[in-house]
């Protein structure tokens, strides 16, 4: 363990802005990608269903 306390860990040796700014943006980007993946799948399936129901009418 490289740290003696949580405050020590959070401070990142004075580089908190840079270290946490990097990890937070990475997490945000991955979350954004996950959301867009789910949205795209839903849109694709919805569009296909709409096409099927138009064809059956």
């Amino acid at each position: 363990m490289a740290w003696t306390s949580f405050a020590d860990f959070a401070a990142m040796g004075g580089y908190a802005l840079y270290v946490w700014g990097s990890f937070a943006m990475t997490a945000a980007a991955l979350l954004w990608e996950a959301i867009t993946l789910v949205q795209r799948r839903r849109d694709a399936v919805d569009e296909m269903r709409a096409e099927i129901s138009r064809a059956h009418r």
Binding site: A2, M12, A34, T36, R41, E47, M48
Partner: protein, 259 residues
């Protein structure tokens, strides 16, 4: 007597494995669906382990202090930005030469993930550059060629989105992707070809890595996580693209009705 009621299918004659059968979108769709849970599982487990090792276990660097911990997201995203581009250009090229639909779909599926990795490499690099070099940005060869990579991804996506003619978009994108592939070795070797502010590689194939064991372990775990995430995301997006493009085929419609 259940055996007689449920006879097993006669064994098929043994055939050599034929990977080309996965070029059919229907076979690919099923295979990608089976691979996905493994991708997500590896990504989550490797990321958790990598974060513990990288942020909690690995010691503070004697030169850079704790700012070096940005490496655990910067290096994997920078590696993936190049690897994904090469994969994208490869599949785009296969689609262009052999006129296979699935290859072009894979190229399209890889682009957004690659663009995101490139953005992350630039973002985390900037946050690392400020405390280390005293500047967020510098127009040196490594940073400039990585920025060009982002523009290539964005150009690829925009070019393909600009036409309703799917196959024409595939071909135009493929030409751009292949021409732009020249940039990848430029990025990779920029730190040796030119005198850049960006440091040289700490890890390469020819000599032992010059870093502590736990640092290296954290980096390899995070790299595995980024790989697994990228493969999972590209497969997921590729399956959506298959649905979008093959919505008029019976096998895709059966999927919709089965749900």
């Amino acid at each position: 007597m259940t055996m007689a009621l449920h006879p097993t299918a006669p064994a098929e004659p043994r055939r050599p494995a034929r990977w080309s059968r996965f070029a059919a979108p229907s076979a690919f769709f099923a295979l990608a669906g089976r691979l996905q849970p493994w991708c997500w599982a590896v990504a989550v487990l490797a990321a958790l382990a990598g974060l513990v090792v990288g942020l909690l276990v690995a010691p503070t660097d004697f030169q850079q202090g704790d700012s070096y911990r940005i490496l655990f997201v910067h290096v994997p995203s920078a590696w993936m930005s190049m690897v994904i581009y090469l994969a994208m250009a490869f599949w785009a090229g296969v689609g262009l030469v052999f006129n296979t639909r699935l290859a072009a779909m894979l190229a399209r599926a890889l682009a957004p993930t690659g663009a995101m990795m490139t953005f992350l490499a630039l973002w985390t690099g900037s946050l690392w550059g400020k405390p280390t070099w005293g500047t967020w940005w510098v127009w040196d060869a490594r940073l400039t060629s990585e920025l060009l990579l982002l523009f290539l991804y964005v150009g690829f996506i925009a070019l393909q989105a600009s036409t309703d003619d799917t196959r024409r978009g595939d071909r135009a994108g493929a030409v751009l992707a292949l021409v732009g592939a020249v940039n990848v070795p430029v990025i990779y070797f920029s730190v040796t070809w030119w005198n850049t502010l960006h440091q040289g590689s700490t890890i390469n194939l020819t000599k032992a890595p010059s870093m502590a064991g736990t640092m290296l372990a954290g980096l390899l775990l995070m790299t595995l996580a980024f790989w697994a995430w990228s493969v999972g995301a590209a497969l997921h997006r590729a399956r959506s693209i298959v649905i979008e493009r093959e919505a008029d085929t019976d096998w895709v419609r059966q999927l919709a009705e089965a749900r």
